[in-house]
Amino acid sequence: MKWLIQLIEELAEIRSPLRPPGAVHEEEFINRCIRCNKCIQICPYHSIIAAPLSHGKKVSLPVIVPKDIPCYVCMKCPPVCPTGALDNTLVNKQNVAMGLAVINEDLCLPYNGIICRACFERCPIYREAITLKDELYPQVHTDKCTGCGVCESVCPAEETAITIKSNHKIFV
C-alpha cells in the first residue's frame, strides 16, 4: 500500500512541479515558456533544471527540485524571461509564491523532543515565514512562505519533515 501512496505522491509532484520564482499560473506558464534555457543558465546555484522525461508533455520546462538544490530566492531569473512566463516586474523575494512549506509533525525533531532550528535559521524570509512557537516548535506562516525549499534541503530529520507543496494546483 505504501508504494501506491508513494507513486501517487510522485505523480502529484510531477503534475504540479515547483516552477522558478515569479512563474505565472501553471496553464499559462506551459503556453508561455519557450524553453530558451535563460533562467536555467542564469541561476547561480544551478537550482533550476530542465524537467526530465518523466514530466510527460511538460518535459524540458524549468523546474526546481528542492530536495536536490533549493531556490535561494536571489531573484536573478524573473527579469531574464523573454516571454513573461516569469513575471519580469518581480523584484522583492517577499512577493514570491512558488509553493508552501508543510511541516509533518510526526517526523519533525522538535515535536519529538529533540532541539532543532535548522529550517528556522536558514529561511530566506528570516523570522517571518518560519517562526518558533514557544522558542521551540517551528511554524510556517502561509502568507509569508515563498516555497523556495531551503527548509526542505536543510532538514536533518531522517525522513524530511518539512516539504514544499507547489502552488500550481493540479485541479484548477
Binding site: I34, Q41, L53, P82
Partner: protein, 304 residues
Amino acid sequence: MKKNKTTTYHKIQCVRRSVQTLAILLFLAIPMANWFGIHLVIGTLYSISIGDMVISDPLMVLQTVLLTKQIYLPLLLSLLIPVALAALLGRVFCGWICPQNSLSEWVNALQKKYFYKRWRRHNMPVVRTNPNPLVYWGMLLGFIMLTSVLGYSLFNYLSAPGILTSQTARLLTTGTLGIEICIVFLIVLAEFILGYRIWCKTICPVGAMLALFKTRSSLQIQHDVSKCDCKGETSPCTVVCPLNLSPKQENLYPFCMNCGLCLDMCEKTGNSSLSFVMGNVNRGNSLQGSSSLCGSDACPIGKE
C-alpha cells in the same frame, strides 16, 4: 569572351565558414561561461540575451502569441533584429549561423567523401525547376494550425537550431540529454538516407518564418544569362547548392538561404554570371541552349 577570375565570392565563402564555426564555438562557450558565473550572454537559439539586448526566434514569438492569444511587448521588441536581418539579407540565419545547417552540410560532405556514388545519385539531379514555394508555405501554415488546434508548444520540437543549442547547454552543464535531441538525429538520418536536405528545403518552420520577411529589395542572387556558359541541364551552381536549387530558375526564393556557394562556384568557372544584388531581379528561364555540359576546369561535371 575573356574570363576574369575574381575571388570576391570565395572570400565571402571563407567568411561564412568562419561565422559558422564561430557560432558553434559560441554555443559551446555560452553554457560553460554561465556555469562559471559569467552571464554576459545567456540563452539559446530559441531566444538569446546579449547584455540587455534580447533576440528571439520569430517562430517562438509566433508560438507564444498563438498559445496565449496575447501580445507581450518585450517579446515583440526582441523580434526587431531577426526581422531586420531577414528583410535586409534574406535567410542568412539559415546559411550562416544555424548549427543544424552546419551539421547537415558537414554530413553531406562526409557522404560525398565516403559514399560518392550515393552522393552523386542524389546531388546531381537534373534540376529544371525549383520546388513550388506553396509546399513550403503550406508546411508552415499546417504547423501553425496544428499548434493552435493542439494548444501545445509544438514549435519547440520543430526548431532544430533551438534544440541543438539548448541540448548542448544541457549536456555540458548537467550531463543529461532531453528527448528532443532525437529530432535532430532523425533529421540527419533522413537527410542521409534520402540524400537531399529535406528538412531545410521543405519542412523547417524556422526558415519558412524567416523567409516570410524577405522583401523585393532584400539581398538576392542575380543571374546574368548573357555571361552564363553552362548550358547543360545540370549546372555547377546547382550541384554545389546545399539544397540542390537552381539559381538560374524561378522560385529560387523562399528556399535559397544566401549561403553564396553557387556564387563561389560560378566565379571559379570564370563566368561570374551569378552575383549578389540588393534589389529586384528578373529571373527568367535561361535553359534554352544545348544539353552539352560546360566542361570548364572548375566544373564538377565536366571532369567526369
